[in-house]
Subunit: 501 residues, 2 copies
Amino acid sequence: MTRITCPVLSSKVTSAEEAATYINDGDRVGMSGFTGAGYPKAVPAAIAENAKAAQERGEDFGIELFTGASTAPELDGVLAEAGAIRKRLPFQSDPALRKAINTGATEYVDTHLSHSAQQAWFGFYGNIDVAVVEVAAVLPNGMVVPGSSVGNNKSWLELADKVILEVNDWHPRAYEGFHDVYYGTRLPPERRPIQILDPMQRIGDPYLRVDADKVVAIVETSAPDRNLPFKSPDESSKAMAEHVVDFLRHEIQHDRLPENLLPIQSGVGNVANAVMAEFAHSEFENLTAYTEVIQDGMLDLIDTGKLTAVSATSFSLSAERAEAFNAKAEEYKGRILMRTQEISNHPEVIRRLGLIAINGMVEADIYGNVNSTHVMGSSVINGIGGSGDFARNAYLNFFVSPSTAKDGAISAIVPFASHTDHTEHDTQILVTEQGLADLRGLSPTARARRIIANCAHPDYRDGLQDYFDRAVAENPNGQHTPHLLAEALSWHQKFQAEGHM
Amino acid sequence: MTRITCPVLSSKVTSAEEAATYINDGDRVGMSGFTGAGYPKAVPAAIAENAKAAQERGEDFGIELFTGASTAPELDGVLAEAGAIRKRLPFQSDPALRKAINTGATEYVDTHLSHSAQQAWFGFYGNIDVAVVEVAAVLPNGMVVPGSSVGNNKSWLELADKVILEVNDWHPRAYEGFHDVYYGTRLPPERRPIQILDPMQRIGDPYLRVDADKVVAIVETSAPDRNLPFKSPDESSKAMAEHVVDFLRHEIQHDRLPENLLPIQSGVGNVANAVMAEFAHSEFENLTAYTEVIQDGMLDLIDTGKLTAVSATSFSLSAERAEAFNAKAEEYKGRILMRTQEISNHPEVIRRLGLIAINGMVEADIYGNVNSTHVMGSSVINGIGGSGDFARNAYLNFFVSPSTAKDGAISAIVPFASHTDHTEHDTQILVTEQGLADLRGLSPTARARRIIANCAHPDYRDGLQDYFDRAVAENPNGQHTPHLLAEALSWHQKFQAEGHM
């Protein structure tokens, strides 16, 4: 049964190849997609083919590509491999695209996810030429039922000169009613308060609005989202999850958290998923979440009844879990609300609700500066994503990582961060499998003592303590954040030279 | 004529020495003061005397000191010189205290100014034992008219077990009606939207509430605030101010700003003051400000009619200007509103109003990471203050500094920031007297080219370009943020070794 029941729009159904002809060299293109969910499945490949054909003719072909966050091989992958992405924002995690960025073929503007829509509206990126947005259905009145992610779709549909829709019947038709698209955003000085008082509060419409006159093509697809499967929690992830959950118990005992906590935000990845698994085995009840993505672990928590309400902007489910969800989506209605990312990640709402934010990191230095994005200072991995939106404005923030990487060759705790995404002013609680360091209300040197003692791997602890002790001894007038500048980045240099810190 | 017209409270008037006896070794003390304005003038000196006497007896005496922001020699100065401050937050700028911090005598927790009150309420700092708050008058009903700063006074008065008031008749009695103290703050999950839609909107009371039962002493004083005088803008400051104002004109021309701009936030210091002077000579009309402090330059803008409304949490006026203001305070009523710093610096309000934020910096690296706090990585100067609250959430943010310091021995543009307070994700526009670099929507390498070309001093430009070029050449797989780790901090090391970058 067709998902397009609007007569005006159904006349625009065409092939991906035909749709892709509307996208020209140099265009700024806003696409759907937030993690491997809700991204267009067909048009990007057709654009990539056009790019390759143009290049074979000796012509340039490249676009500036804007999305919600990361996408999947069928979007970032095919376009990066075709050399068709000149500039990319606000986030990515695709291997081919990462390579294009780190070899200088693609410019990447790594942006707070809550900033991306508003900066587009402010005109900071220039005109958006085309929107390519995947949806679940087109209603008779031309309104659109979003799919498994909302992201920046509202903004791309409104800002773009031309609109291409992909209608994917893999998304459950039952998605109707899952979404809350806020149409109250304005530009300053016309902005008004965002009146969300709890995670499930509706302030918008269940549909995306589309200007039919701008729609140049609609492509029908039937293809699954593609997210990476989750590993079952290993010992290290379980240990980190236990540290987090034990600390939350401690905070309840000291009357700094209510019994059912505060709304949880959990970053993407295996550790975050392990924390959710730990909650599943815990005594906690009536939990809520106000987060970016719903991973397998969070869906499990809903299934067990521990988690009663989740606001997010996207699903990020393993293939198996996504199929299971789609088969009984109706049962989750009223317990899951999908918002635009400018609302899911909005500082105003995050601060008001008082979130417990749990995010991964690449490394932290001994003073609590956190690197979430770079390897050895120069190469970017993924990007800052929403971690800054959440960490800065949360009630409590956790940054979590195994204490070592590359089979122990890299320490996640270093003398000096090789890149800083979250400053010492913003990081509260660091967690590795070794332990947890509560940095709240501590000076930098007090933080260093606690991070080294609690979080560093034993193989690196003495080296960090030695760096710190000598930095203290050699900076009689620099005792606030003592550093040895000649050695500050030496651990990273050693890794570059010898393959081991 | 007495400023204390409440019978219950007037019975508690006593000497500073008597009041100081309520403050014990180990106490956490919340004091008023935001810049050299509205800080207690008498009790701190008496505490310092008690500390010295205790030390002479061989006893320990130290407090944890919380304020609004920086204060003045009569508060931070006397207590630091007496060795009486064990821990200090959220901000400081006093020479004696800075020395105590950088020599390790005092722990300093450098905190976003919007975070300080809420973190105290969250219980992250422990119990507040005593509040010492300067006010302008005590009304018959026991309510209090605040003075020249509001800062965190509401929170200290509510959180502390004991309250000491200093009633200073140097503050104009006409302050009554200048303040808007918001009593709608709650702890999560009970928080509600802050319904401010424009800088002058009132959402609170003109008075601070004081629990008379907690008041242990009231001290009468008659002493002026003490802020540093401003230098008249030099050529460098004028050049920076011109770059900022020209850029705002450019943004209006491109329809990215309304004719009367958006509310201005301007950091403390001579450059910020110079920008205000530049506005005074400009064609702009009907400007507004939503800021932390009102400096001389902003008052001048009010006097000329260019600036119609200012919301702030404190004055920071030169002695001369403060006397002139006090003599005719009544005339400014309705054009100035003084709020608590949790509201003046609140991300929710800053983002909604869409501020133009102008803040100083110590250094920026070629990729746009900004250091606002540290010299050569280890020694702290002042602190992050409100710069993070404003920069992250502003519509436009400017970071401004002369391109060199110490008569040219230090470049404000460096290969790698020796400390990061504002990350590459948060900085939009860098300004030196050399020029302006608009970094919006640019990748790190594009930013580097622009910063080096537009902002670096000619004496350092080639060196920066050389570092960048070699970093690009030597990082074939690290083209996102190319660095030479062995040289990244070498400019700072050279300064330490040779006194010159």
